[in-house]
């Protein structure tokens, strides 16, 4: 199937120092699919989202790459077209829903904005539609909530409002950037349920960004793991979670379970992710990687940055950026 969103070797760097914050990120999201992007802080997940939205901060620039949404090239859009993109073709959810709403405007008026902007509804029409939308995302007493101001909402409610807003113009793609991280666990579960339900109803694609593999596991169709501005492994959710190939993915899964080993210790990835930023050649994960030593690949890993290679049984479905795994495959 033709992918809805296709990102090809997206590179983002700072304007002043030309430091590459995203380096050759390629992602594809098929219609109706949930692609989860997983990684720790600083791995470039949120930046990827901003790049797609054409909302990079002024100090950053997209220095290469191609991005298409249903065939339209996103990088060459004019300002007006970008505005149509926002909320019209891509809806977006954020980590702090309450803070993404204007504190001085009522909830209803903000939910109505995309309706007026993208669907050209009249104010009155929009007002009516807002109530439906709010009810649709499981908000009781939508009329009362529409009159409320953002600070009067709980985090869960605010995220529901954001979902209503993001989906108001029925965009084909939803980007959800850590939408449940700030929420209580019981509420988180509800929001995830809601997202799944909405996705099914509207048949949209979702780019779901999270640091939490547990959360991702419940919603993702495919998973892309990012490390230091690069996609290190991508594949179907099942495969990534059950048969991870990249040492980082493995370590991340190991950490996420919080399972102790025989000696009662939790698994720990050595080193800190900040070391990766200082490297300018070779594999960025090399200093923390067990495999490098195990497989005596120090020289290879040090010299050349590994490329994303297709592995596994169904080509192009599972790719991994590691000399070690590549080596294994070649050897095998």
């Amino acid at each position: 199937m033709e992918p809805l969103l296709e990102i090809d070797s997206l590179t983002v760097s700072t304007r002043t120092t030309s430091k590459r914050l995203l380096d050759g990120v390629s992602l594809r999201v098929a219609p109706g699919e949930v692609l989860a992007v997983v990684g720790e802080s600083g791995s470039g997940k949120s930046l990827t989202a901003l790049s797609i939205m054409q909302m990079l901060p002024r100090v950053l620039e997209m220095s290469a790459g191609r991005m298409t949404l249903a065939g339209t090239d996103l990088t060459s859009l004019r300002r007006r077209e970008i505005d149509t993109l926002h909320g019209g073709r891509i809806g977006m959810l954020f980590q702090q829903p309450r803070r993404m709403l204007d504190p001085t405007a009522t909830v209803g008026s903000q939910v109505a904005e995309p309706l007026v902007r993208h669907l050209r509804m009249s104010r009155r029409e929009a007002r009516r539609r807002v109530l439906e939308l709010l009810a649709d995302v499981g908000i009781d007493e939508p009329a009362r909530r529409a009159q409320a101001y953002p600070h009067q909402l709980s985090g869960g409610l605010a995220q529901r409002v954001m979902i209503a807003t993001a989906l108001a113009a029925s965009p084909p793609l939803l980007i959800a950037d850590e939408p449940t991280t700030a929420l209580d666990v019981t509420v988180e579960a509800q929001i995830l349920q809601l997202l799944k339900q909405k996705k099914r109803e509207l048949g949209m694609s979702v780019l779901f960004i999270s640091h939490d593999l547990n959360v991702v596991s419940s919603i993702a169709d495919r998973i892309a793991v990012m490390y230091a501005g690069r996609v290190v492994e991508v594949g179907t959710a099942d495969e990534i979670l059950t048969q991870p190939e990249h040492p980082y993915t493995k370590a991340l899964i190991e950490c996420s379970t919080l399972r102790t080993d025989a000696s009662g210790q939790l698994y720990v990835i050595p080193g800190g992710s900040d070391t990766a930023r200082e490297l300018d050649h070779g594999c960025r994960f090399r200093p923390r990687c067990g495999l490098t030593q195990e497989a005596h690949l120090e020289q290879v890993c040090d010299a050349r940055e590994p490329v994303l290679l297709s592995i596994g049984r169904s080509p192009a479905e599972h790719e991994c950026r590691c000399w070690g795994t590549a080596e294994e495959r070649e050897g095998a």
């Binding site: 720790e40 802080s41 009781d140 709980s154 869960g156 409610l157 209580d184 666990v185 019981t186 509420v187 988180e188 579960a189 509800q190 995830l192 349920q193 799944k196 339900q197 640091h211 939490d212 593999l213 547990n214 959360v215 596991s217 419940s218 919603i219 979670l241 370590a251 991340l252 899964i253 950490c255 996420s256 379970t257 919080l258 399972r259 102790t260 009662g264 210790q265 939790l266 698994y267 720990v268 990835i269 800190g272 992710s273 900040d274």
Partner: protein, 346 residues
């Protein structure tokens, strides 16, 4: 990990009927409103054991920790920690008490004075307690850092120059400088990345073993509590709704809220009915009757009218629910599944 090698001793922490309501800013001549942060909590913990307190935001668990440490005065109730009546702590006895009980907070960046180097922050603690002299303090600090796996080079850094994980370890080192018998950890890892979280949790259990610490660990994450606690108490809107030994709680929880937490933590793929409905109510106006009744799929009229009391359902296992006897079965029916083990998630 939770090493039971440490023999339980007499009760080290004992809270009885502790109540803490925070007044809200009064508006006009209206009735002053209160946040019912902690409502009639009774807890006891034997020396050498560790207690995990679980709850969502607004459940009052952090307030409880502060009350234990005498950082917040309860409205009523008895707080007895390490043989000290914390509620009637005199100023002159304060320092002695601090050497018995210490706390580690959630955000390591906020608890370090940004204008002091690590050395200054740590030395100040020793100086305030008149422990040792210059060189001895220095030695102790270096030793403390080493114990948490950091080199002496960190001493001259400012908090802003340390990563969260490093800083949390420094904060733990600082708390342990006073060689306390009780260590309260309030969400010690929830501000950290997964890989760092493991590191800090490892450190905490290691220190607990080595120093034979009594611990209270507060978290919203059941998995963290499970790793570190002998006993677990679940809080909801200022009340303890269920308390039991670890295994008992994780396998035989009876309160619908505990079960909801367990279910939510598993992140099962699919479309199971979520067991807690809606949003947590405001702690300013807690619901009448059972506080969970607004979100409980099992709530009856009785639940909405009569507040349940903690009932002993098994030795050491108390539940605050009218329908505890049938809750597991009924919920299983509703969701169509058995409650999961929290570790089954990934």
């Amino acid at each position: 990990m939770t090493d039971t090698a440490i023999a339980p001793t007499a009760e080290l922490v004992k809270l009885e009927n502790v109540v803490k309501h925070f007044p809200l800013r009064r508006r006009g001549f209206g009735r002053r409103e209160f946040v019912h942060s902690v409502d009639d909590v009774t807890i006891s913990l034997e020396g050498g054991r560790s207690l995990g307190i679980v709850g969502e935001s607004g459940s009052g668990k952090s307030t409880l920790a502060r009350i234990m440490l005498g950082l917040q005065e309860p409205d009523s109730g008895q707080v007895d920690v390490a043989g000290v009546q914390v509620t009637s702590l005199k100023r002159k006895d304060d320092k002695a008490f601090r050497r018995k009980a210490q706390i580690v907070f959630q955000d390591p960046h906020s608890v370090m004075d940004p204008r002091m180097t690590v050395r200054q922050s740590l030395t100040a603690v020793l100086a305030q307690h008149r422990i040792g002299d210059g060189p001895e303090r220095e030695a102790r600090i270096v030793q403390a850092l080493r114990e948490v796996g950091l080199e002496a080079e960190y001493l001259d850094r400012y908090p802003a120059d340390c990563s969260g994980g490093q800083l949390q370890r420094i904060v733990i080192a600082r708390a342990l400088l006073l060689e306390p018998t009780l260590l309260v950890c309030d969400e010690p890892t929830s501000a950290l990345d997964a890989s760092v979280q493991a590191k800090v949790l490892n450190l905490i259990s290691q220190l607990r073993r080595e120093r034979e610490l009594t611990m209270v660990l507060i978290s919203h994450d059941l998995r963290v509590v499970r790793l570190t606690s002998d006993r677990v108490a679940v809080m909801y809107l200022g009340q303890i709704v269920e308390t039991a030994d670890r295994e008992e709680l994780f396998t035989g929880a009876r309160h619908p809220y505990t079960l909801a937490l367990l279910a939510a933590a598993t992140h099962v793929k699919g479309d199971e009915q979520v067991v807690a409905q809606g949003e947590p109510p405001s702690p300013v106006h807690p619901p009448a009757g059972c506080r969970f009744n607004t979100r409980c799929p099992l709530a009856t009229d009785r639940c909405r009218e009569e507040a349940p009391q903690l009932a002993e359902v098994a030795p050491g296992h108390q539940v605050r629910c009218h329908r505890w006897s049938e809750s597991r079965e009924l919920l299983a029916e509703i969701t169509g599944t058995e409650p999961h083990d929290v570790n089954d998630g990934v």
